[in-house]
Symmetry: D2
Subunit: 311 residues, 4 copies
């Protein structure tokens, strides 16, 4: 399968189940993929932030992308995160993704370094030139500590450098600017815009976004698939109801131990705890050095799942 | 050579000379090492931020540490940066460093992730447990986006997890807290404190720091060696004069293209341009996607070198 | 006129026209009020950020609120910003607003200080206790450097401390949390939620927001009034078209001198230049020390107004 | 008394004692001034951040500056903070200070607004033009959220706009740049550089700073006066010992309730609690909405005072 000209719908960032000794649990991973496919998703995104990519050594990363691509067997497009500090390091991950058969890569601006916009442009050009795979820009200021400006993204789209954008910036005005600006791109639509803001998916679709990459979609893929269908059908009242149900469920992330709220481990731990409670994965452990959830947190997550009818 | 119980003096972060097609220029690299050794430095730090570690793929990183350790042949301790997002990824770099014969590794807190202090503690414990090399903490908030608290550092020192600190935070009050606190550590002094703030080296020594890791030391190692000697001799007036001379020379970094000031590429480009003008390295290119300096910038750097008597 | 239980619709933050020597131009101010009222707005918000409140000394502030309240004569509710660092200073402005006859005040969390959430709660309680006017919280992290958490806002709403929220944070997921949470408040709806994000008004209404406080509404009040009506009528396709037209017009702010983009003076200058070009105010000057727009910037603004049919 | 051409030595930011109902306690205030004068300080700085200026309404502010200037009666120069968002508001405070007889004002860059460097220059020019008092720039990025660049400060010094700098940025490399740069200013030395970093005073003096504005100087003025004398005498070993004693005492700020560490109220509360325990002021209350210290915090402060020989 190769990437469709326009990637649309629900493309969850696939969690990476681990064994108690922090190896990739490939059996749980394929079970999770089956769970997502059964939920009706339109594509898969491995090795993103919700996949704990930042915590996985290269060997783990390779195993994840190989396992998922092989298991999916071309039913659905598979995007792979190529998350690293700068272009040459990103390209090493791109080559692994390509060798494994992924259909596209998702790439942030440089991080750790302090990088000027003109250097961000060079970064994406270099990656796109050499990756031999479509490149989606990943806008995640909370991790990368810079924001991709709409004009920069649109210029790279017009050049053919970028095949799409995964916007996890939470800046909906910026998302609108990209969506309005891409109408001026030449040729048939071929620049995909996916939101990573899982609590405002109806808004993003209403503005013209093509799809969503919801971390919570690991837990409730059916919900996000329903939401996307309602949005495409223009049933905005129905979409709002479904989105609000999912927003209520998202409290599994918010209502963790206050000491950990705001840290990444709260959300990643909650998704995995929920997948474990739902019987999808064998072990809810998150990668080092993240703290495990407390028993109380897991109990609260169980209650939220129950009231959402997911247990 | 193994790491001395207390690493002291001048330990420059060694720049990584590249060929025009962005491969490691090992001939220039060994020439640069000779230049530093001739300058009287007390140790070498490869694969730090000034070495463009964030820009170098793993193959380049391995070649750098192997080349330098082999060339130094045990004359001086060699520290290697193990710069990556989280513990398991850091450990892959630690293993390469150890295999190459490095004497210690330098490790930041997790980045890209949002990590709580308790998780930073776990991160360092895990790295120290498995690295089989002494671990120095690298405090660099401008890149890592979190600050290592003095109490956290001291607790890890007391536990034996950390062998030292490279403090590039610019927070001199925090540095003082660490220096005062380490006197209470049990046993003979074995926790090295090095400052990475190259314009306040006299202050750091006056507070009790053991040494300095100056990026500008690539360009003028003799200057920093003189400065360290004056500090150790308690000749604070002499130290101030030497430090001010070096601070004036540091303007090669500041007076770059205003469009790039504040970005990392300005400083890294200036150090390499100066090394090239001084005939130490063959090619001043910096790693992708950094913008090269303009001709005007290089000219200004030449003038500063000339007035410092370095051309 | 007193504040209705639920403030809804378009409540523009009224620009503060100044004379060339930086006094309040009351003639232009009343003309601007007439222009807004003629545009069909539902209320007025004086002394907000778009009113340059941060630049106006107390005498100017008093004159603004007195002039507008007197001129409006009870036709519409008038909110007044009470923008200052902490509670006791805010209360001085609250008393001026009350004496002038304003119907409510809009108050940020403390700024300049570093203030804990529990102290933010105390701040609003104290202001509400003593102001003798309804208090709306003003969430503006770009100025205040802290974000009002949805739970904190809802708790203060439940207590009766807050009468509403003006959310200019750009965090639409947070806005949704407030909107979902307020349904659980006891009694008939009496907590107004207004968005200050003028490019995503349709999204905010679709989530259940009551109204909008658009800076650009100074320039094109009719447009925002139409947008609000379309939203209330559930005509989301029509609303999107109107919102996109306004988003295109908003480029008067974005396409200023790149040297100033991101700074406040770009937006404030653009609104005033547009009001001057449209003949509403006599002089486009912004308060010291903001730089005036360049001639080129003003020309570009003129072109945008012309293509929007506003010249 | 007017400001000396070069203000030197210890100029503590005078705490503002309040009554239990949050009025200015003028009796305690004059007692605090006597305590500081008896300690040998060289000047007083009222209405700074440590004075809780951000929490004091204009009436309180006026009473403070009038009380202190009258009580000092010209024995020492008195600087007054004119802390507000922008130039015209600052000027209102400047006029009050001048009417009360203060010898100079201390002024930050604009805050709350987003202001470009060229606008910061305009801000200081306008304030200096109209204030009819010498103006010291106050660099406090933790409150103002922008940093005063050394070049900007030196340019304004060369123009005669600024009479000095109070550097509370914690950026000692930047401080060094200012100190080196001011030697090139024409005429006899007339630009005072004071550090607000109370834990690195010896470093600042060693670099050439003229004095220090230590919050902790309220509690132990004799200590800072000794420290300044040792620095001026070039007794750097003695200075370090005294500075380390004061740094240990500073733990009254650090060891507060962890929930409040990092917030301003922890430090302000500690200084006042210590002044109360030492019998200098009648009531340790801090201004609203700051949380009071807990009993445990006050006990710990008492222990630190005791071990410093101050109880």
């Amino acid at each position: 399968m190769s990437l469709p000209p326009l990637l649309t719908g629900v493309v969850p960032p696939v969690c990476t189940p681990l064994t108690p000794d922090l190896e990739v649990d490939t059996a749980s991973l394929t079970r999770l993929v089956d769970h997502l496919v059964a939920g009706g998703v339109d594509g898969l995104f491995v090795l993103g932030s919700s996949s704990e990519a930042a915590y996985l050594p290269d060997g783990h990363r390779r195993r994840v992308v190989e396992t998922v691509v092989a298991h999916v067997g071309g039913q659905l497009p598979v995007l792979a995160g190529a998350i690293d500090m700068t272009a040459l390091r990103v390209l090493d991950h791109a080559h692994t993704a390509r060798a494994a058969g992924a259909d596209g890569i998702v790439v942030t601006a440089p991080f750790y370094t302090r990088t000027h916009p003109a250097e961000i442009v060079r970064h994406y050009r270099l990656v796109a030139e050499r990756a031999q795979l479509p490149v989606l820009a990943y806008d995640l200021p909370v991790s990368v500590h810079s924001k991709l400006d709409a004009r920069l993204v649109l210029a790279l789209a017009a050049e053919g450098v970028l095949a799409g954008l995964k916007d996890s910036s939470g800046d909906e005005a910026g998302l609108r600017r990209v969506l309005m600006g891409r109408r001026a791109l030449p040729g048939p639509p071929s620049f995909s815009v996916l939101t990573g803001s899982e609590l405002t998916v109806d808004s993003a679709f209403a503005m013209g976004a093509d799809g969503v990459v919801p971390g919570l979609g690991n837990v409730d893929p059916h919900g996000y698939v329903r939401l996307a269908r309602l949005c495409r059908a223009g049933d905005w009242a129905g979409a709002r109801t479904e989105q609000e149900r999912l927003a209520a469920l998202f409290r599994i992330v918010d209502e963790g131990d206050p000491a950990r709220i705001g840290g990444s481990s709260s959300g990643l731990g909650a998704f995995k705890a929920a997948l474990h409670l739902r019987g999808v994965i064998d072990c809810p452990v998150t990668a080092a050095p993240q703290l495990p959830l407390t028993e109380d947190e897991v109990k609260r997550i169980g209650k939220h799942l129950a009231s959402a009818g997911l247990l």
